[in-house]
Symmetry: C2
Subunit: 249 residues, 2 copies
């Protein structure tokens, strides 16, 4: 549980959820899928494909969490789901192994939300910025190169051998940053991630990403009163945590 007496001014590091919070996975996957479809003459609904692929994410991690699979990095879970979806969408025979391997790594090539890079640049002058993602380390490193993101540290479920929202992931982050949880703020668009971080003593910043699941999806934007900060995007988060741009040295 957070120590409510620890002021926000003592925060040393921000740990970020990545998929959906920093990058717009859905538009990126749809865009690459459509380009591949045009190149290979595949006429499928790539938005449905993207949603189904992401929909396979939690159940795949649950198989690891429940011991049905040994530790398996996200690239390999993505590939298991992809192979099933290619069958379901009737295009498994239309793509060769090179296409499939490349498509699977679309998660390394996701584009940031429009405010992500600029907001993080301002936040990085004051805080240590680290990923705290279920993506494997190489995925996060490649994505940062692609998206122009600069992290002080790439932390991942892979380093804990546990997926969020298992508490071990948050413990490992605090251990590696060598900070008490009360000096770390989890930044995420997902309430359950923040609630799990809160349970381990982290501070929490909820960033609203109403378009994560597309313009027509309903997203839970209600605010848990335990969250320390609620922001509309990373520029707003920077305004709240480091002050307006002109005050940033």
């Amino acid at each position: 549980m957070s120590d409510a007496h620890e002021p926000l001014a003592n925060i040393g590091a921000l740990t970020f959820d990545v998929f959906g919070t920093v990058v717009d996975w859905r538009s990126s996957v749809i865009g690459e899928g459509q380009a591949l479809g045009r190149a290979r003459g595949l006429d499928i609904d790539w938005a449905a494909f993207a949603d189904a692929w992401r929909g396979g994410y939690a159940p795949a991690m649950d198989r690891v969490r429940h011991g049905e699979l040994p530790w398996t990095r996200l690239d390999d879970l993505h590939r298991m789901t992809l192979d099933r979806l290619l069958e379901d969408f009737g295009i498994a025979e239309r793509l060769d192994e090179t296409d499939k391997a490349h498509l699977n790594r679309v998660w390394h090539r996701l584009d940031p939300w429009p405010d992500s890079v600029a907001g993080m640049q301002r936040l990085r002058r004051r805080f240590i910025l680290a990923t705290l993602s279920n993506g494997n380390v190489s995925l996060l490193v490649n994505m940062a190169k692609h998206a122009g993101l600069s992290w002080d540290c790439v932390l991942s479920a892979e380093l804990a051998g546990h997926y969020k929202r298992d508490p071990e992931v948050y413990h490992k982050a605090a251990e590696l940053l060598d900070l008490p949880p009360s000096r770390i703020m989890m930044v995420a668009a997902h309430q359950d991630d923040l609630q799990a971080a809160y349970q381990e003593g982290f501070r929490t910043a909820f960033v609203k990403r109403p378009l994560e699941h597309g313009p027509e999806a309903e997203v839970d934007l209600s605010v848990d009163p335990r969250f320390d900060v609620v922001a509309n995007d990373f520029l707003d988060l920077a305004d709240q945590l480091v002050g307006p741009p002109s005050d940033t040295p």
Copy 2:
């Protein structure tokens, strides 16, 4: 062993030794020691102190390597050596715990060699740049903030639970970067680090740091013919790996 047929053009990541290769630990420790000495009226030979502190580094890691100590991060090994040296130099009673804890973290505040930041900026446009250091993750993250270094990934002995030159450290780096060792180049000023990386299949770049142990110390600058690249500093390394500055986009 390196696959001699894998061209250097296929290298995806450079992994850097840090102490002595990227940062000038000796001048930094001497400088902070002298400032502390002036503030506390301690008249000791801070160059001898710095050398003795660094001299305790390999024996302390050997205690972990041989199982005499469980896994212990470098901050804590540094502190064990520091406490002994403060006694040896007769100043243990002259510093309070705050001073000692701050002095111990001088290794988080080391200054880079004059060419490090500029050389790395050029190299980073082409390659993934990662630390591969015996320093713990938080030490490396804090040092990067202090020194103005930008890493794509902070890799550490701490993530392997083994200190260099144990092979597990190099294996863990390749696993986390998800690259075959032949596509990773170890960059170091220390021949034994490069030779250990070579044994695990890494490419090697030897960067000469003749002043690491001070202007009067002799440093082995002989070149092992197995090294792929030999450079005088990071600017020279960038010249050799990415071409002259004007060719860098």
